[in-house]
């Protein structure tokens, strides 16, 4: 299609049909003041700040909502345009308090900035200003000063268009308009923090950051999120060696201009009381503080004694450098190391043709038109990828779901099959024909995506193989979301070494090293893991935090937390992203790669002498082209039915703010709705079968233990399933995240099986 010619302030340019004057202005690189316009949101044209003069138009027009016509002549800073903009600013300031020095947004406020250029020196408005009461929107977003709101509705549009759920709205009209959540509810979206960035004034601010610092006091350091496989780019803001805020760093290919609340607010854990600052060594049964030399000496002795019988469990969010040195240590000792701690099926090891990955760049997700999502709590596991698929769905993509729970994805789902976990592989095999097959084959660009639940499933290899064969049949791309921030990094560092995480726990070893791992939360079966650790002769734990369970570790070494170490994450699309430390490690803590390096050298192993994390990274990558190593192809046999299915099965998700040590210790995240103590959810049929009532206590037992917990109803769950979150202290005694449970009423003990 031909282009449209437009002249802006005397410069001519061509823009495609359908462009607005604002698009053209942006293309030209000039600036028109605006508040409500945001390139990722729909056009509202309600702030009127972007009024410009258009030749032959009788009055100024809003640049954001005026489509370009051929030959249009626009003037953005003529007298008429400037008068219009000044006039709008005067009206915006009528009800806005003129007390920037006491506003939390002061110094980083778009209204304040533009008022300098477009406002008057003093107000002509002498009458009373309106007052809007504060709202309680939950622990993350502060709406304390709603009188400052200029009704741009960015937050409302963000909810409806990006987060997928309209939690805020603007009620009433005219000067009575105000932003509210429906009847006093909180904002619970896992992306809600972005509203703070979007708000052009001080109406919505960050609750944890409020009045902690002024923007000009903060140093800004780039970083990468350690929480999920997206690898969102971050700006870590620091004052006096303390992280005070985390904001998104725009990267259109990865996180656009968004980050999830987990990425944004987990930093609160860094400044908590339970950070470990000095090495601990067990003396007379007690962990006591000591110096580094003593602690490292004990570790070297302990590991030497165990020799080959050594197992290393590394958090999946470890950096590439940490993985690399961990893998070298395990190899040098002849022991084992793995990072796939929440997995329980390792039968695909040795049968993969490459490193599992998303199968496409992240940005491509948005362009898919047919998607089959298998076994994924997507909004909790990879919130930003859920947003990408939501945008695809809005553009017409048909999303199909095969899963064991029917959580609201906040996007239209074309077809769903919800089955018991044990039936998940069978359900996939049965997809060769039927509605989903029809949908999947009717598009241009189809993908099958395996979520965390599918990868952590006891039949994960079979699920993968079935998905692979379906992808071939439907000519679809197969993608693996990656249940770790740095899963690809782990494989690149040549992990697993020796044995899988499952085998290391199954057959206890004499010595263990835990790298930023809390076995009571971070592994597939906490009960078995703790049993293995307790029976070991020697356990060393590298952790940024004081251990929650104190009885298994013999030495605890304080490692630098996220933001305190340099390193590299490889995200699910195979993007290698290195980052520097934003602050110095707290107390005597050291970056884990340095601890491992020192330990390796101390024990007399070769190839541990790296001066910088970059050297370790380069040694690990060895000049290899990462993208050529990625493949989702396996040679696992597609079928063979599993063992007899249990009558009542556990469906375990990892709640979003329990996924890792940082999120678990972030006070604001722990106050959200998502962090409430998990309930045993089941459908009404199972509930009435055991004779319990919703809200009452039940006793849930597994092969390893029993817990008493409150029961709830979720009719989206399949028959014979109890959904009970993992990674939580209230359910840790139940052990494995999959498998058989028995359940009975706990109030009078008279329940049925």
């Amino acid at each position: 299609m031909s282009m449209l010619k437009i002249e802006i302030d005397g410069s001519e340019l061509e823009v495609p049909h359908g462009s607005t004057v604002m698009d053209a202005v942006n293309k030209l690189g000039t600036y028109v003041p605006h508040f409500c316009y945001h390139r990722k949101l729909s056009i509202a044209a309600n702030c009127r700040m972007c009024l410009v003069e258009v030749e032959k138009a009788p009055k100024p027009l809003p640049a954001c909502a005026t489509p370009v016509t051929d030959g249009m002549k626009v003037r953005t800073n003529s007298l008429a345009a400037k008068n219009a903009q000044n006039g709008v600013m005067e009206f915006l300031l009528i009800n806005h308090p003129l007390d920037c020095p006491i506003c939390d947004q002061g110094g980083e406020c778009q209204l304040q900035d533009l008022a300098v250029g477009y406002g008057k020196g003093e107000s002509r408005y002498q009458e009373e200003k309106r007052v809007v009461f504060s709202k309680n929107l939950g622990p993350l977003v502060a709406a304390e000063e709603m009188s400052r709101c200029i009704q741009c509705t960015r937050c409302v549009r963000f909810g409806a268009e990006i987060a997928g759920t309209m939690e805020l709205g603007m009620i009433n009209r005219g000067e009575h308009s105000e932003i509210v959540s429906f009847v006093g509810q909180t904002v619970d979206s896992e992306l809600s923090g972005n509203m703070i960035d979007l708000c052009p004034v001080g109406a919505l601010t960050s609750k944890p950051f409020r009045y902690a610092a002024r923007t000009w006091e903060l140093a800004r350091r780039r970083s990468v999120s350690p929480h999920d496989s997206v690898g969102a780019n971050l700006v870590v803001q620091v004052k006096q060696n303390r992280v005070l805020r985390v904001l998104p760093l725009e990267n259109e290919d990865v996180n656009e201009c968004w980050i999830s609340d987990r990425d944004r607010f987990s930093y609160e854990a860094l400044n908590g009381d339970d950070r470990l600052q000095r090495p601990l060594v067990r003396r007379d049964g007690q962990l006591q503080e000591t110096d580094w030399d003593t602690a490292l000496g004990e570790v070297a002795a302990g590991l030497r004694k165990a020799g080959k019988d050594f197992g290393l469990l590394a958090a999946s969010s470890s950096t590439l450098e940490e993985f690399y040195l961990a893998s070298r240590l395990a190899k040098s000792l002849g022991g084992a190391a793995d990072f796939r701690l929440r997995h329980c099926d390792f039968s695909a090891d040795g049968k993969r043709q490459g490193i599992p990955w998303l199968g496409m760049p992240i940005a491509e997700l948005q362009k898919l038109d047919r998607v089959l999502l298998v076994g994924s709590f997507l909004r909790h596991d990879q919130p930003l990828l859920a947003h990408r698929l939501r945008q695809a769905a809005k553009a017409g993509a048909k999303i199909c779901v095969v899963h064991s729970a029917d959580d609201d994805l906040m996007m239209p789902v074309a077809h769903r099959i919800i089955v018991r976990p044990s039936d998940l592989p069978g359900a996939l095999d049965g997809l060769e024909e039927g509605e989903i097959a029809q949908i999947m084959q009717s598009g241009e660009k189809a993908a099958i995506i395996l979520g965390n639940f599918a990868q952590q499933h006891p039949d994960a290899a079979r699920i993968h193989a079935s998905a692979e064969s379906l992808a071939r049949r439907w000519n679809a791309c197969l993608g693996v979301l990656g249940d770790a921030a740095n899963g690809i990094g782990g494989y690149l560092a040549d992990l697993p070494v020796g044995a899988s995480a499952g085998a290391m726990v199954e057959a206890p070893r004499r010595a263990y090293m835990l790298l930023n791992t809390e076995p009571e939360f971070d592994v597939a079966d906490p009960v078995r893991a703790l049993r293995a650790l307790r029976s070991a002769d020697f356990v060393v734990s590298l952790s940024p935090f004081r251990p929650g369970v104190e009885d298994y570790a013999h030495v605890v070494l304080p490692m630098a937390a996220f933001t305190e170490t340099s390193g590299t994450f490889v995200n699910c699309e195979g993007r290698v992203q290195s980052f520097e430390a934003a602050v110095r490690p707290l107390g005597e803590a050291r970056p884990a790669w340095k601890i491992l390096r020192q330990l390796g050298t101390l024990m007399g192993f070769h190839d541990f002498e790296f001066d910088t994390s970059e050297q370790a990274r380069d040694a690990c990558l060895g000049g290899r082209n990462v993208s050529s190593l990625l493949s989702n192809a396996t040679s696992v046999a597609a079928s063979t039915a599993g063992a007899k299915a249990p009558t009542i099965q556990r469906v375990a998700d990892v709640p979003i703010y329990f996924s890792d040590g940082l999120a678990r210790r972030s006070a604001p995240l722990q106050k959200t709705r998502q962090s409430r103590v998990p309930r045993a959810m089941m459908n009404e049929r199972l509930l009435s079968q055991i004779g319990a009532t919703s809200g009452g206590p039940v006793k849930v037992a597994s092969a390893t233990g029993a817990v008493e917990i409150v029961v709830g109803v979720d009719n989206g769950l399949p028959d014979g399933c109890v959904r009970l979150a993992g990674a939580h202290s209230s359910t840790a005694l139940l052990g494995a995240m999959f498998g058989e449970l028995s359940i009975e009423r706990a109030d009078d003990g008279a329940g049925a099986r």
Binding site: A160, E167, N172, F182
Partner: protein, 173 residues
């Protein structure tokens, strides 16, 4: 989730009558299926016809019926002042007090109404027969003063005599 279950059962309890739902369905049919929410204004007014006013629960039900976010329905219901967000008297009298009407005597008419009914704006007579409301432009400036009875019946050129007659007709003194 249990909240969803609770919301569903609450929605069932707040369901409108079949006759109202049939009327709403007729409105929905006027728009393409993916734009069901275009019927929200009509649906709210039908719901109000049945219930007399729009409670939060009623708006929740309408939201669920049209597949909209509840807060989006709340936005619409608070924007237009013909929707009653609180119970009103049997007859809601809304008098326009905008500038053109005001110039043509509607402020005087409003005073007369207040004196006759002995209530102020946004108040209901003790017998529950009348609620008095101040309205925005009704597009009938030429016929000022104008009074709207229960959102549906427009009375124009409302002199004191005509106001007295209207009050009498509606069962007042």
């Amino acid at each position: 989730m249990s909240e969803i279950a609770a919301a569903t059962s609450a929605a069932r309890a707040n369901a409108l009558s079949d006759a109202s739902l049939a009327r709403i369905d007729r409105e929905i049919a006027k728009y393409p299926p993916e734009w069901k929410q275009s019927a929200v204004m009509a649906a709210l007014s039908i719901a109000q016809d049945e219930r007399g006013w729009l409670s939060t629960e009623t708006m929740d039900f309408v939201a669920g019926y049209l597949g909209m976010a509840p807060v989006a329905v709340y936005e619409v219901a608070t924007f237009y002042n013909m929707y009653n967000l609180k119970p009103t008297g049997k007859h809601k009298l809304t008098i326009c007090t905008c500038l053109p009407c005001g110039l043509q005597g509607s402020l005087d008419a409003a005073d007369h109404l207040r004196n006759r009914l002995k209530v102020d704006f946004n108040e209901t007579t003790p017998d529950g027969n009348f609620t008095l409301k101040e309205g925005e432009c009704m597009g009938a400036c030429a016929m000022a003063p104008v009074i709207l009875v229960n959102n549906k019946r427009m009375c124009d050129y409302m002199s004191h005599e005509k106001i007295d007659a209207l009050i009498k007709e509606l069962g007042g003194e």
